[in-house]
């Protein structure tokens, strides 16, 4: 993948990580390395300076690495973490909810110009990604090259959904911001995309049918929960052996309860990072649920998750004057 900006960003990032490890500012850094295929990346814990060479930063770094802070943050080590702007939101939520201490974190924000979705890339170019040997970029397009041909597709067609609605506020919580030029392509990324609106026109039975159809496919593999930075309970109620409130069987009504419960639990914590939907092996449109709930929380309490560490979540407080919708 040829993109000068990303190559330069990677170099600066490597230098930064090297320096942090060298000066013992952090015990280790969570970043990205190359995955099993050319278009894949994977999370990478960098402990030694000899490992820094493997660090990458490119348009396929989709993971929200903050989710790794959930199990390890209690150990008291000082952790460096590579974060996109959107990942900062979930870090803010983790700090706010006492899952990690800010003083134990060193946040390296890296400029991000949108993450590519390889499935979309395949769909729009009609070329299986395994055949692709090179992708070049110009202002609005990606030039996808195979050994025989080359084809241009619109960048905006191939970005992750969340990147299309990314709203570009630079967080003040990062310790470092690695950028070269400011992110360009604002026009590509400041879109609005409908997540749940079409379902609002359907009657109740239609909506129930829609969700039951999707939830009937759910395997209860819990990948959505495990990847979610907002699901930080030490023992999830769906794993708990005491008080088995819902069956672990993957039956449709139980799955319905699972999903609505999880959506409710994460209602004031979800930062709309889209990881749950991305990892779901059976493509359940979980973001419809999350986006809708985020909108309702904003509507009812004027609250948005992930913005400020010192804000109180609406479920942890109340007003005597709250409107009573049950009158």
């Amino acid at each position: 993948m040829k993109n000068q900006t990303y190559i330069e960003l990677t170099d600066t990032l490597k230098q930064k990580i090297n320096q942090l490890l060298n000066e013992k500012v952090v015990d280790y850094v969570i970043g990205y390395e190359k995955g099993s295929l050319w278009f894949k990346t994977r999370p990478f814990m960098i402990r030694k300076q000899t490992e820094v060479e493997k660090v990458i930063w490119n348009r396929f770094c989709q993971f929200n690495l903050s989710t790794f802070l959930k199990p390890i943050s209690q150990r008291g080590e000082k952790i460096g973490i590579v974060a996109k702007k959107c990942d900062l939101k979930s870090i803010v939520e983790l700090i706010k909810n006492n899952q990690v201490k800010k003083e134990n974190l060193y946040i390296i924000q890296v400029a991000c110009d949108g993450v590519l979705n390889w499935q979309k890339l395949e769909n729009f170019s009609g070329i299986p990604v395994s055949k692709v040997i090179e992708i070049e970029e110009n202002a609005l397009n990606l030039v996808i090259k195979t050994s025989e041909s080359s084809i241009e597709v619109l960048k905006s067609d191939c970005l992750l959904d969340k990147c299309l609605v990314c709203d570009f506020q630079h967080s003040t919580y990062a310790d470092d911001f690695i950028s070269i030029s400011d992110e360009n392509n604002h026009e590509i990324r400041n879109q609005t995309i409908p997540y749940f609106e079409s379902l609002e026109d359907v009657d109740y039975e239609g909506r129930l049918e829609f969700w039951l159809k999707h939830f009937s496919r759910c395997l209860r593999c819990y990948a959505c929960r495990n990847v979610c930075p907002a699901c930080f309970c030490p023992t999830c109620m769906f794993d708990s052996q005491e008080g088995l409130w819902i069956s672990k069987e993957s039956k449709t009504p139980e799955n319905y309860v699972y999903h609505l419960t999880r959506a409710f639990h994460t209602a004031t914590l979800c930062v709309e990072c889209g990881e749950c939907e991305r990892v779901c092996p059976v493509n359940i449109p979980l973001m419809k649920l999350n986006k809708k709930l985020a909108k309702e929380v904003k509507d009812a309490f004027g609250y948005q998750a992930g913005l400020q560490v010192d804000e109180l979540s609406p479920f942890k407080t109340f007003c005597q004057e709250d409107t009573d919708e049950f009158k």
Partner: protein, 137 residues
């Protein structure tokens, strides 16, 4: 018609008692579950009841300001506001979830509330969850 009523032990449950000892008539469709405070309601209780095919769930607690634990019911009100919108989006008529404030002295209001939820449910057309389609648990 089947309705599950979660009643706070300090007020609405006592209100239900009073309705009984005062021999007030109310529809016999409800199954009362005693809870320590309306804020003891875990949203999963409600979701589970609805997914088992009950027609409606009523939650009853002390009047705002009167909660035995000072402010549990204010939290309940916030949570159920969101839960109501969530079930509505996921295909359950929001009328199926009702929240009432009933004190221990309001036997009459308890009976009225049961009548109220029944009359609301009689008006709605869409079906609840199919009964007994899930696991036995």
């Amino acid at each position: 018609m089947e309705i599950v009523a979660f009643c706070c032990q300090w007020c609405s449950y006592a209100g239900a008692d009073l309705a009984g000892t005062s021999r007030l008539k109310y529809p016999a469709n409800i199954r009362i579950i005693k809870i320590p405070c309306s804020s003891r309601i875990n949203p999963t209780f409600i979701l589970k009841a609805l997914s088992k095919g009950v027609d409606g769930v009523m939650v009853a607690g002390c009047h705002p300001g009167d909660c035995h634990y000072s402010n549990g019911n204010y939290f309940t009100r916030r949570r159920l506001t969101v839960l109501k919108r969530l079930i509505e989006f996921c295909g359950i008529n929001p009328e199926r979830l009702q929240l009432y404030w009933i004190s221990a002295a309001e036997g009459g209001k308890f009976a009225e509330s049961v009548k109220d939820i029944i009359s609301r449910l009689e008006k709605i057309q869409d079906k609840p969850f199919p009964k007994n389609s899930g696991s036995s648990l």
